[in-house]
Protein backbone atom coordinates (compact mmCIF):
# COMPACT_ATOMS: atom_id res chain seq x y z
CA UNK A 1 0.00 0.00 0.00
CA UNK A 2 1.42 3.38 -1.06
CA UNK A 3 0.47 6.18 1.32
CA UNK A 4 0.87 9.72 0.09
CA UNK A 5 1.42 11.52 3.41
CA UNK A 6 0.77 14.95 1.94
CA UNK A 7 -2.57 13.77 0.54
CA UNK A 8 -3.41 12.11 3.87
CA UNK A 9 -2.64 15.35 5.73
CA UNK A 10 -4.73 17.31 3.23
CA UNK A 11 -7.73 15.02 3.73
CA UNK A 12 -7.36 15.10 7.53
CA UNK A 13 -7.12 18.91 7.69
CA UNK A 14 -10.09 19.52 5.42
CA UNK A 15 -12.09 16.74 7.08
CA UNK A 16 -11.46 18.48 10.41
CA UNK A 17 -12.53 21.87 9.03
CA UNK A 18 -15.67 20.43 7.45
CA UNK A 19 -16.67 18.59 10.65
CA UNK A 20 -16.10 21.66 12.83
CA UNK A 21 -18.19 23.73 10.40
CA UNK A 22 -21.03 21.26 10.84
CA UNK A 23 -20.43 21.37 14.60
CA UNK A 24 -20.96 25.13 14.47
CA UNK A 25 -24.14 24.66 12.44
CA UNK A 26 -25.40 22.21 15.09
CA UNK A 27 -24.71 24.75 17.85
CA UNK A 28 -21.78 22.97 19.48
CA UNK A 29 -19.95 25.17 22.00
CA UNK A 30 -16.39 26.39 21.40
CA UNK A 31 -15.22 23.79 23.95
CA UNK A 32 -16.50 20.89 21.82
CA UNK A 33 -15.32 22.19 18.44
CA UNK A 34 -11.78 20.74 18.75
CA UNK A 35 -13.47 17.39 19.43
CA UNK A 36 -15.52 17.80 16.22
CA UNK A 37 -12.37 18.63 14.28
CA UNK A 38 -10.54 15.61 15.71
CA UNK A 39 -13.48 13.39 14.86
CA UNK A 40 -13.57 14.65 11.25
CA UNK A 41 -9.81 14.27 10.89
CA UNK A 42 -9.92 10.69 12.21
CA UNK A 43 -12.79 9.82 9.87
CA UNK A 44 -11.15 11.19 6.75
CA UNK A 45 -7.73 9.74 7.65
CA UNK A 46 -9.23 6.29 8.08
CA UNK A 47 -11.27 6.52 4.89
CA UNK A 48 -8.28 7.75 2.87
CA UNK A 49 -6.10 4.92 4.19
CA UNK A 50 -8.83 2.45 3.26
CA UNK A 51 -9.18 3.86 -0.26
CA UNK A 52 -5.38 3.84 -0.66
CA UNK A 53 -5.43 0.18 0.33
CA UNK A 54 -7.78 -0.50 -2.57
CA UNK A 55 -11.02 -0.80 -0.60
CA UNK A 56 -14.31 0.39 -2.05
CA UNK A 57 -15.73 3.73 -0.90
CA UNK A 58 -18.40 1.89 1.09
CA UNK A 59 -15.91 -0.35 2.92
CA UNK A 60 -13.60 2.57 3.66
CA UNK A 61 -16.53 4.66 4.93
CA UNK A 62 -17.63 1.78 7.18
CA UNK A 63 -14.12 1.46 8.63
CA UNK A 64 -13.99 5.22 9.18
CA UNK A 65 -17.37 5.22 10.95
CA UNK A 66 -16.25 2.34 13.20
CA UNK A 67 -13.01 4.19 14.02
CA UNK A 68 -14.89 7.38 14.90
CA UNK A 69 -17.50 5.41 16.84
CA UNK A 70 -14.77 3.69 18.88
CA UNK A 71 -13.15 7.07 19.51
CA UNK A 72 -16.50 8.39 20.75
CA UNK A 73 -16.87 5.42 23.11
CA UNK A 74 -13.42 6.15 24.55
CA UNK A 75 -14.72 9.57 25.58
CA UNK A 76 -17.01 7.78 28.03
CA UNK A 77 -13.91 6.63 29.91
CA UNK A 78 -13.82 8.24 33.39
CA UNK A 79 -10.85 10.49 32.67
CA UNK A 80 -12.25 11.93 29.45
CA UNK A 81 -15.89 11.84 30.53
CA UNK A 82 -15.40 14.91 32.74
CA UNK A 83 -14.04 16.87 29.77
CA UNK A 84 -16.49 15.85 27.07
CA UNK A 85 -19.41 14.41 29.09
CA UNK A 86 -21.95 12.72 26.85
CA UNK A 87 -20.74 14.55 23.77
CA UNK A 88 -19.09 11.42 22.34
CA UNK A 89 -21.93 10.19 20.13
CA UNK A 90 -22.72 13.66 18.84
CA UNK A 91 -19.06 14.24 18.01
CA UNK A 92 -18.98 10.94 16.11
CA UNK A 93 -21.99 11.96 14.00
CA UNK A 94 -20.44 15.37 13.27
CA UNK A 95 -17.21 13.65 12.23
CA UNK A 96 -19.00 11.31 9.85
CA UNK A 97 -21.08 13.95 8.08
CA UNK A 98 -18.22 15.03 5.76
CA UNK A 99 -18.37 11.47 4.42
CA UNK A 100 -22.07 11.66 3.43
CA UNK A 101 -21.89 11.29 -0.37
CA UNK A 102 -23.81 14.44 -1.33
CA UNK A 103 -22.03 14.68 -4.65
CA UNK A 104 -23.06 11.16 -5.67
CA UNK A 105 -26.63 11.93 -4.60
CA UNK A 106 -26.67 14.99 -6.85
CA UNK A 107 -25.20 12.95 -9.74
CA UNK A 108 -27.86 10.27 -9.27
CA UNK A 109 -30.71 12.77 -9.34
CA UNK A 110 -29.24 14.61 -12.35
CA UNK A 111 -28.91 11.26 -14.10
CA UNK A 112 -32.55 10.38 -13.41
CA UNK A 113 -33.68 13.74 -14.78
CA UNK A 114 -31.48 13.33 -17.87
CA UNK A 115 -32.92 9.85 -18.47
CA UNK A 116 -36.42 11.28 -18.65
CA UNK A 117 -35.49 13.67 -21.48
CA UNK A 118 -37.40 13.10 -24.73
CA UNK A 119 -34.49 11.53 -26.63
CA UNK A 120 -31.69 10.71 -24.15
CA UNK A 121 -28.32 9.98 -25.73
CA UNK A 122 -26.50 6.85 -24.54
CA UNK A 123 -29.43 5.96 -22.32
CA UNK A 124 -27.96 2.58 -21.40
CA UNK A 125 -24.65 4.01 -20.21
CA UNK A 126 -26.44 6.83 -18.42
CA UNK A 127 -28.73 4.37 -16.65
CA UNK A 128 -25.79 2.32 -15.44
CA UNK A 129 -23.95 5.44 -14.19
CA UNK A 130 -27.07 6.72 -12.45
CA UNK A 131 -27.77 3.39 -10.80
CA UNK A 132 -24.14 3.17 -9.70
CA UNK A 133 -24.36 6.63 -8.09
CA UNK A 134 -27.65 5.76 -6.38
CA UNK A 135 -26.31 2.49 -5.01
CA UNK A 136 -23.17 4.22 -3.78
CA UNK A 137 -25.29 6.78 -1.91
CA UNK A 138 -27.44 4.09 -0.31
CA UNK A 139 -24.55 1.79 0.61
CA UNK A 140 -22.29 4.58 1.87
CA UNK A 141 -24.98 6.07 4.12
CA UNK A 142 -25.80 2.55 5.30
CA UNK A 143 -22.10 1.93 6.01
CA UNK A 144 -21.82 5.15 8.03
CA UNK A 145 -24.98 4.51 10.04
CA UNK A 146 -24.11 0.88 10.66
CA UNK A 147 -20.55 1.66 11.73
CA UNK A 148 -21.73 4.29 14.21
CA UNK A 149 -24.62 2.17 15.53
CA UNK A 150 -22.58 -1.01 16.04
CA UNK A 151 -19.97 0.75 18.17
CA UNK A 152 -22.65 2.58 20.15
CA UNK A 153 -24.58 -0.63 20.86
CA UNK A 154 -21.59 -2.74 21.91
CA UNK A 155 -21.10 -0.81 25.14
CA UNK A 156 -24.71 0.23 25.50
CA UNK A 157 -26.30 0.45 28.93
CA UNK A 158 -29.97 1.20 29.39
CA UNK A 159 -29.33 4.88 30.07
CA UNK A 160 -26.01 5.21 28.29
CA UNK A 161 -27.16 8.23 26.29
CA UNK A 162 -27.37 10.25 29.49
Amino acid sequence: MNVDLLHLLHQAVFGALAASGFGMLFNFGWRELPGCAASGALALTTRTLGLDAGWTLEAASFAAAVAVGCGAQLLHAPLLHTRFGTAGNALAVAGCIPMVPGSFAAQAIFGLIALTAQHPQNAGTMLVTTMESMLRVVFTIAALGTGLSITAHIRRRRDSFL
Binding site: L17, L25, N27, P98, S103
Partner: protein, 296 residues
Amino acid sequence: MAYRRGNDDSPSVKVVTQSGQAMMKDCMNIPDPKNTPNPVVLNHRELEQVAGAALLVAHRLMETGSRAEVVHESCSLVARGLGCEHVNLRSGYASLEITLDSGMNTITRMIEVGTLGVNYRLNHAIRDLVRRFREGSGTPAAAVAEMTRLERDTPRQPPWVVALWVGIACASFGRLLGIDWAAFIPVLTAGAVGQAGRHLLVRRGTNVFVVAAGIAFLSSTLGGLGARWAASTTVNLAMNASVLLLVPGVPAVNAQSDIMEGHPELGGARAIFVIMLLMFIAIGVLIAHGIVGAPS
Protein backbone atom coordinates in the same frame (compact mmCIF):
# COMPACT_ATOMS: atom_id res chain seq x y z
CA MET B 1 -42.53 8.39 45.21
CA ALA B 2 -40.64 11.65 45.33
CA TYR B 3 -43.31 13.82 43.78
CA ARG B 4 -45.65 14.81 46.60
CA ARG B 5 -49.38 14.89 46.03
CA GLY B 6 -51.08 18.20 46.41
CA ASN B 7 -47.84 20.12 46.19
CA ASP B 8 -49.10 23.66 45.73
CA ASP B 9 -45.88 25.57 46.29
CA SER B 10 -44.83 25.31 42.63
CA PRO B 11 -42.85 28.27 41.38
CA SER B 12 -44.71 30.75 39.24
CA VAL B 13 -42.51 31.19 36.20
CA LYS B 14 -43.22 33.18 33.07
CA VAL B 15 -43.27 30.64 30.26
CA VAL B 16 -42.18 31.66 26.79
CA THR B 17 -43.57 28.93 24.54
CA GLN B 18 -47.23 28.36 23.84
CA SER B 19 -47.15 24.69 24.79
CA GLY B 20 -45.16 25.56 27.91
CA GLN B 21 -47.77 28.17 28.87
CA ALA B 22 -50.56 25.64 28.65
CA MET B 23 -48.61 23.19 30.75
CA MET B 24 -47.67 25.75 33.39
CA LYS B 25 -51.35 26.66 33.73
CA ASP B 26 -52.08 23.03 34.44
CA CYS B 27 -49.27 22.86 36.99
CA MET B 28 -50.70 25.64 39.18
CA ASN B 29 -53.10 25.51 42.09
CA ILE B 30 -53.24 21.79 42.69
CA PRO B 31 -55.75 21.34 45.50
CA ASP B 32 -54.77 19.76 48.80
CA PRO B 33 -55.82 16.09 48.70
CA LYS B 34 -57.40 16.34 52.19
CA ASN B 35 -59.82 19.03 50.98
CA THR B 36 -60.59 17.37 47.66
CA PRO B 37 -63.87 15.46 47.59
CA ASN B 38 -62.84 13.20 44.70
CA PRO B 39 -59.31 11.84 45.04
CA VAL B 40 -59.54 10.14 41.63
CA VAL B 41 -59.86 13.56 39.98
CA LEU B 42 -56.81 14.74 41.90
CA ASN B 43 -54.80 11.74 40.74
CA HIS B 44 -55.83 12.44 37.21
CA ARG B 45 -54.68 16.03 37.48
CA GLU B 46 -51.36 14.92 38.85
CA LEU B 47 -50.92 12.42 36.03
CA GLU B 48 -51.84 15.14 33.56
CA GLN B 49 -49.07 17.35 34.87
CA VAL B 50 -46.54 14.55 34.75
CA ALA B 51 -47.63 13.75 31.19
CA GLY B 52 -47.26 17.42 30.25
CA ALA B 53 -43.75 17.67 31.69
CA ALA B 54 -42.58 14.36 30.16
CA LEU B 55 -44.06 15.23 26.76
CA LEU B 56 -42.39 18.64 26.83
CA VAL B 57 -39.01 16.97 27.42
CA ALA B 58 -39.64 14.44 24.62
CA HIS B 59 -40.90 17.13 22.25
CA ARG B 60 -37.84 19.35 22.72
CA LEU B 61 -35.45 16.40 22.40
CA MET B 62 -37.09 15.45 19.08
CA GLU B 63 -36.85 19.00 17.79
CA THR B 64 -33.19 19.33 18.73
CA GLY B 65 -31.98 16.22 16.90
CA SER B 66 -32.31 13.18 19.18
CA ARG B 67 -33.07 9.78 17.78
CA ALA B 68 -36.24 8.00 18.88
CA GLU B 69 -34.67 5.80 21.52
CA VAL B 70 -33.16 8.75 23.39
CA VAL B 71 -36.55 10.48 23.30
CA HIS B 72 -38.31 7.39 24.65
CA GLU B 73 -35.78 6.74 27.41
CA SER B 74 -35.68 10.39 28.52
CA CYS B 75 -39.44 10.71 28.57
CA SER B 76 -39.77 7.48 30.51
CA LEU B 77 -37.12 8.47 33.08
CA VAL B 78 -38.74 11.84 33.72
CA ALA B 79 -42.22 10.35 34.10
CA ARG B 80 -40.96 7.65 36.47
CA GLY B 81 -38.92 10.19 38.41
CA LEU B 82 -42.10 12.20 38.87
CA GLY B 83 -43.87 9.18 40.32
CA CYS B 84 -45.51 7.22 37.49
CA GLU B 85 -45.38 3.45 37.50
CA HIS B 86 -45.83 2.63 33.81
CA VAL B 87 -44.94 4.81 30.87
CA ASN B 88 -45.75 4.15 27.21
CA LEU B 89 -44.69 6.56 24.48
CA ARG B 90 -45.45 6.48 20.78
CA SER B 91 -43.32 8.67 18.58
CA GLY B 92 -44.41 9.82 15.14
CA TYR B 93 -42.73 12.30 12.85
CA ALA B 94 -45.15 15.12 13.69
CA SER B 95 -46.53 14.13 17.09
CA LEU B 96 -45.84 12.24 20.31
CA GLU B 97 -48.38 10.39 22.43
CA ILE B 98 -47.89 9.25 26.00
CA THR B 99 -49.93 6.95 28.24
CA LEU B 100 -49.18 6.99 31.96
CA ASP B 101 -50.41 4.55 34.58
CA SER B 102 -50.40 5.08 38.31
CA GLY B 103 -52.44 2.73 40.49
CA MET B 104 -55.96 2.60 39.05
CA ASN B 105 -55.49 5.75 36.97
CA THR B 106 -54.47 5.99 33.36
CA ILE B 107 -54.05 9.05 31.19
CA THR B 108 -53.17 9.53 27.51
CA ARG B 109 -51.98 12.82 26.09
CA MET B 110 -50.53 13.97 22.77
CA ILE B 111 -48.28 16.82 21.69
CA GLU B 112 -47.40 18.09 18.23
CA VAL B 113 -43.77 18.22 17.17
CA GLY B 114 -42.50 21.11 15.07
CA THR B 115 -39.70 21.19 12.52
CA LEU B 116 -36.94 18.74 13.37
CA GLY B 117 -33.55 20.42 13.57
CA VAL B 118 -30.30 20.05 15.44
CA ASN B 119 -29.29 22.06 18.52
CA TYR B 120 -26.55 20.23 20.38
CA ARG B 121 -26.29 22.51 23.41
CA LEU B 122 -30.01 22.63 24.12
CA ASN B 123 -30.28 18.89 23.54
CA HIS B 124 -27.56 18.12 26.06
CA ALA B 125 -28.88 20.65 28.58
CA ILE B 126 -32.21 18.77 28.43
CA ARG B 127 -30.40 15.46 28.97
CA ASP B 128 -28.77 16.95 32.07
CA LEU B 129 -32.23 17.94 33.27
CA VAL B 130 -33.46 14.38 32.69
CA ARG B 131 -30.55 13.09 34.76
CA ARG B 132 -31.58 15.34 37.65
CA PHE B 133 -35.29 14.58 37.47
CA ARG B 134 -34.94 10.82 37.15
CA GLU B 135 -33.71 10.75 40.76
CA GLY B 136 -37.21 11.76 41.78
CA SER B 137 -36.23 15.09 43.28
CA GLY B 138 -38.56 17.39 41.36
CA THR B 139 -42.12 18.31 40.55
CA PRO B 140 -43.77 18.62 37.11
CA ALA B 141 -44.01 22.38 37.51
CA ALA B 142 -40.31 22.61 38.30
CA ALA B 143 -39.50 20.46 35.24
CA VAL B 144 -41.59 22.68 32.96
CA ALA B 145 -40.09 25.83 34.47
CA GLU B 146 -36.58 24.46 34.05
CA MET B 147 -37.28 23.47 30.42
CA THR B 148 -38.54 26.96 29.72
CA ARG B 149 -35.45 28.47 31.32
CA LEU B 150 -33.19 26.22 29.23
CA GLU B 151 -34.93 27.21 25.99
CA ARG B 152 -34.59 30.87 26.89
CA ASP B 153 -31.04 30.82 28.24
CA THR B 154 -29.17 28.19 26.19
CA PRO B 155 -26.74 30.21 24.06
CA ARG B 156 -26.54 30.05 20.28
CA GLN B 157 -23.60 31.03 18.13
CA PRO B 158 -24.10 34.42 16.39
CA PRO B 159 -25.54 33.93 12.87
CA TRP B 160 -22.56 35.59 11.14
CA VAL B 161 -20.13 33.24 12.92
CA VAL B 162 -22.21 30.23 11.85
CA ALA B 163 -22.38 31.54 8.26
CA LEU B 164 -18.60 32.01 8.11
CA TRP B 165 -17.89 28.55 9.53
CA VAL B 166 -20.40 26.93 7.20
CA GLY B 167 -18.67 28.65 4.28
CA ILE B 168 -15.34 27.24 5.47
CA ALA B 169 -16.96 23.80 5.81
CA CYS B 170 -18.35 23.93 2.24
CA ALA B 171 -14.97 24.97 0.82
CA SER B 172 -13.29 22.17 2.81
CA PHE B 173 -15.87 19.70 1.48
CA GLY B 174 -15.05 21.02 -1.94
CA ARG B 175 -11.37 20.26 -1.43
CA LEU B 176 -12.32 16.72 -0.37
CA LEU B 177 -14.39 16.40 -3.56
CA GLY B 178 -11.53 17.72 -5.68
CA ILE B 179 -12.11 21.44 -6.37
CA ASP B 180 -8.96 23.41 -7.24
CA TRP B 181 -7.63 26.26 -5.11
CA ALA B 182 -9.07 28.89 -7.48
CA ALA B 183 -12.59 27.75 -6.54
CA PHE B 184 -11.91 27.71 -2.78
CA ILE B 185 -12.84 31.32 -1.95
CA PRO B 186 -15.89 31.38 -4.29
CA VAL B 187 -17.26 28.22 -2.65
CA LEU B 188 -16.54 29.62 0.82
CA THR B 189 -18.41 32.83 -0.06
CA ALA B 190 -21.31 30.96 -1.68
CA GLY B 191 -21.67 28.67 1.35
CA ALA B 192 -21.59 31.60 3.78
CA VAL B 193 -24.16 33.59 1.78
CA GLY B 194 -26.33 30.48 1.47
CA GLN B 195 -26.27 29.88 5.23
CA ALA B 196 -27.10 33.55 5.93
CA GLY B 197 -30.03 33.29 3.49
CA ARG B 198 -31.21 30.04 5.02
CA HIS B 199 -31.11 31.58 8.50
CA LEU B 200 -33.30 34.48 7.34
CA LEU B 201 -35.80 32.25 5.54
CA VAL B 202 -36.08 29.75 8.42
CA ARG B 203 -36.72 32.63 10.85
CA ARG B 204 -39.52 33.81 8.57
CA GLY B 205 -41.06 30.34 8.78
CA THR B 206 -40.59 29.43 5.11
CA ASN B 207 -41.19 25.78 4.23
CA VAL B 208 -38.01 23.75 4.70
CA PHE B 209 -38.15 22.21 1.19
CA VAL B 210 -38.65 25.60 -0.45
CA VAL B 211 -35.70 26.90 1.56
CA ALA B 212 -33.57 23.96 0.38
CA ALA B 213 -34.39 24.54 -3.31
CA GLY B 214 -33.97 28.31 -3.09
CA ILE B 215 -30.69 28.20 -1.16
CA ALA B 216 -29.33 25.42 -3.38
CA PHE B 217 -30.03 27.61 -6.40
CA LEU B 218 -28.50 30.71 -4.78
CA SER B 219 -25.35 29.01 -3.44
CA SER B 220 -24.76 26.91 -6.52
CA THR B 221 -25.13 29.90 -8.87
CA LEU B 222 -22.82 32.05 -6.73
CA GLY B 223 -20.27 29.24 -6.40
CA GLY B 224 -20.36 28.50 -10.14
CA LEU B 225 -20.12 32.11 -11.29
CA GLY B 226 -17.40 32.84 -8.72
CA ALA B 227 -15.38 29.78 -9.72
CA ARG B 228 -15.68 30.69 -13.39
CA TRP B 229 -14.60 34.27 -12.64
CA ALA B 230 -11.61 32.91 -10.68
CA ALA B 231 -10.62 30.80 -13.73
CA SER B 232 -11.23 27.53 -11.92
CA THR B 233 -11.16 24.33 -13.96
CA THR B 234 -13.62 22.64 -11.55
CA VAL B 235 -16.71 24.84 -11.91
CA ASN B 236 -19.06 21.85 -11.84
CA LEU B 237 -17.62 20.49 -8.57
CA ALA B 238 -17.62 24.00 -7.08
CA MET B 239 -21.35 24.28 -7.77
CA ASN B 240 -22.02 20.97 -6.02
CA ALA B 241 -19.72 21.80 -3.08
CA SER B 242 -21.50 25.12 -2.47
CA VAL B 243 -24.72 23.33 -1.46
CA LEU B 244 -23.22 20.75 0.88
CA LEU B 245 -24.42 22.82 3.86
CA LEU B 246 -27.92 21.58 2.99
CA VAL B 247 -27.13 17.85 3.01
CA PRO B 248 -29.32 16.34 5.77
CA GLY B 249 -26.65 14.27 7.49
CA VAL B 250 -28.17 13.99 10.98
CA PRO B 251 -31.67 12.98 9.74
CA ALA B 252 -30.04 10.37 7.48
CA VAL B 253 -28.09 8.82 10.37
CA ASN B 254 -31.07 9.12 12.74
CA ALA B 255 -33.33 7.41 10.18
CA GLN B 256 -31.13 4.37 10.14
CA SER B 257 -30.68 4.32 13.92
CA ASP B 258 -34.44 4.56 14.44
CA ILE B 259 -35.13 1.64 12.11
CA MET B 260 -32.38 -0.43 13.77
CA GLU B 261 -33.70 0.34 17.24
CA GLY B 262 -37.30 -0.64 16.60
CA HIS B 263 -38.93 2.58 15.41
CA PRO B 264 -39.42 1.90 11.69
CA GLU B 265 -42.30 4.38 11.25
CA LEU B 266 -40.27 7.33 12.47
CA GLY B 267 -37.14 6.06 10.71
CA GLY B 268 -39.07 5.63 7.46
CA ALA B 269 -40.54 9.11 7.74
CA ARG B 270 -37.09 10.55 8.33
CA ALA B 271 -35.74 8.66 5.30
CA ILE B 272 -38.51 10.06 3.10
CA PHE B 273 -37.74 13.54 4.43
CA VAL B 274 -34.07 13.03 3.45
CA ILE B 275 -34.98 11.85 -0.08
CA MET B 276 -37.42 14.72 -0.61
CA LEU B 277 -34.89 17.27 0.63
CA LEU B 278 -32.20 15.87 -1.70
CA MET B 279 -34.62 16.16 -4.62
CA PHE B 280 -35.37 19.81 -3.84
CA ILE B 281 -31.64 20.53 -3.49
CA ALA B 282 -31.03 18.83 -6.84
CA ILE B 283 -33.74 20.94 -8.50
CA GLY B 284 -32.09 24.13 -7.20
CA VAL B 285 -28.66 22.98 -8.44
CA LEU B 286 -30.08 21.90 -11.78
CA ILE B 287 -31.59 25.34 -12.45
CA ALA B 288 -28.26 26.91 -11.41
CA HIS B 289 -26.45 24.67 -13.90
CA GLY B 290 -28.82 25.91 -16.59
CA ILE B 291 -27.95 29.53 -15.75
CA VAL B 292 -24.20 29.13 -15.25
CA GLY B 293 -23.91 26.82 -18.25
CA ALA B 294 -21.75 24.18 -16.58
CA PRO B 295 -22.51 20.57 -17.53
CA SER B 296 -24.44 18.77 -14.76
